[in-house]
């Protein structure tokens, strides 16, 4: 479980995050949703320690990041897997090289065992036939898969994904979401996913944290998101034509119940 307590962040005197309180549960896909520019990425970077919040605490299963020394921090980082918005694959390494990277740097396994583990991860994301290709030679969806394979190579306890399906078509997005959800349940990881995609929200939103202009406005899940009272959340959820229709249907349902 990861806890964020009263997290606030400033950039050059400009406040980006306002007193965010949230918990991210083990074995579940936790979603951070919000409009573009609302501070999701900044919040996630605070969570993993790439940025240090000016106020507030981040706790990993009770361990405060702020109080950790370098050795403990290093240890924590080997327990974290991260999927960046642009995949962040190493351009000069093949798919296999990318997945091998964390293994060669950190694992005590022998070379054969490392290769075995890398191939297992590549197979888990369904890319058996592409392991000799370079990132520039594969599609965006495949790059995301490679990034997932790299993130899970060291069997992390915590998995962070920054907009895993931005720039992908709806069908590929759903496949990636399902993959993330499956992996989370399979290995009991604490998964945190940034997204602004309503399909993911409804598909894998076991816990949802809504951020609006740096404020945490609502916390819930995919079951109760349509019945939320928060105005900003409703504006976000029912922004598209499709969900306006859904809203009408829902309202009719409520009326007929009366």
């Amino acid at each position: 479980m990861i806890e964020a307590k009263n997290v606030s962040k400033w950039f050059d005197g400009q406040r980006i995050l306002y007193d965010i309180n949230a918990t991210f549960e083990t074995g579940k896909t936790n979603l951070i949703i919000g409009q573009s520019g609302s501070g999701k990425t900044v919040f996630m970077k605070c969570l993993i320690g790439l940025l240090t919040p000016e106020e507030g605490e981040i706790l990993y299963d009770g361990r405060k990041i702020r109080n950790m020394n370098n050795e403990e921090r290093r240890q924590l980082r080997t327990e974290i897997g991260m999927l960046f918005q642009g995949s962040a694959l190493f351009d000069n390494e093949t798919v296999l090289g990318n997945v091998m990277f964390p293994l060669t740097m950190f694992s005590s396994l022998s070379k054969e065992e490392q290769l075995e583990r890398a191939h297992f991860c590549i197979k888990r994301v369904g890319l058996e036939n592409a392991d000799k290709k370079y990132p520039s030679e594969i599609s965006g969806g495949m790059q995301k898969r490679v990034a997932i394979a790299r993130a899970i190579a060291l069997n992390p306890k915590y998995l962070f994904c920054d907009e895993p399906n931005s720039g992908l078509d709806p069908k590929t997005s759903i496949l990636i979401d399902e993959l993330l959800s499956d992996i989370t349940h399979e290995y009991g990881m604490t998964t945190v996913i940034n997204t602004h995609d309503m399909n993911s929200v409804l598909g894998i939103g076991e816990k949802i944290i809504f951020i609006n202009k740096g404020h945490c406005d609502w916390i819930g899940n995919d079951k109760n998101i349509f019945r939320a009272k928060s105005q900003s959340l409703n504006d976000f959820v029912f922004a598209s034509k499709l969900f306006q229709e859904v809203k009408l249907v829902l309202e009719r349902e409520v009326e007929s119940e009366k």
Partner: protein, 247 residues
């Protein structure tokens, strides 16, 4: 002014990050070999071509401009040699390499920064500065004396071509000039300078690339910055080293 002092401080802290013990020596040596090949060996053709031509031009200039009965005719070879050994093969060549190697390093690392590859390494717990930059600095510093000596040699060959294939100066005269009043220390002086300059080029370029913020546009700016700053620093270091080593 305050900004440049701040930047210098940041640069020093960056170097402290870079000069840590590598996480895995095997990985380090692998990338060291790779960088020597990419930064060093790949620069050889450029160095050869430029040195040949400049050597030839210096030889022509010296013959044309030194036409005095008071100066012996072998001084053409002598002057060509001194210019190559003292300044061209170290300072000028490094200024040119700053353009090639420096911009290459800055844009490569800058791209890694803006595509979050560096963040990805940091998140894994890899010391990204050390992992990416150290092999580049060590590799280039180790290989650059070779480039320097090659440049000296091929510069002299360039001059020899003029002596051989034109009637401006005879080959005997040129060769005699090359061999007279030779001071071995000048070769070492050139090599020491190139080593220092190579360190400046690689570390400054890596620094510029590592702290890029923003997107592709800033990567381009960083690479220009790297070339400009390292060129100025090379000239500054040239003055200081010459005063220290030749006096």
């Amino acid at each position: 002014m305050i900004k440049s002092i701040k930047n210098f401080g940041k640069y020093c802290l960056f170097l402290v990050q870079v000069f840590k013990r590598p996480d895995k020596w095997r990985v380090f040596f692998k990338s060291l070999i790779f960088e020597i090949d990419k930064l060093g060996v790949d620069s050889i053709p450029l160095v050869l071509i430029i040195s040949l031509f400049i050597g030839a031009v210096i030889c022509i200039q010296m013959t044309i401009n030194i036409v005095s009965p008071l100066i012996p005719s072998y001084s053409t070879g002598l002057a060509t040699r001194e210019i190559l050994l003292l300044e061209f093969s170290s300072t000028m060549m490094c200024l040119i390499l700053a353009g090639k190697v420096g911009s290459n390093i800055a844009s490569e690392i800058g791209t890694m920064r803006v595509t979050e590859q560096i963040d990805a390494m940091d998140i894994m717990g890899v010391n990204s500065a050390n992992y990416i930059v150290l092999p580049k600095i060590i590799g280039f510093v180790l290989f650059v004396p070779v480039l320097c000596v090659l440049s000296m040699f091929f510069g002299l060959i360039g001059g020899w071509f003029i002596a051989e294939f034109t009637t401006m100066i005879s080959v005997e005269n040129y060769n005699y000039g090359l061999q007279s009043f030779f001071n071995e220390w000048y070769v070492w002086y050139g090599i020491i300078k190139t080593v220092v300059f190579a360190f400046i080029i690689t570390s400054v370029a890596a620094f510029c690339g590592y702290y890029v913020k923003g997107g592709a546009l800033e990567v381009g700016k960083a690479s220009t910055n790297a070339v400009v700053s390292s060129s100025i620093l090379i000239l500054l270091a040239d003055v200081i080293l010459t005063k220290l080593l030749l006096q």
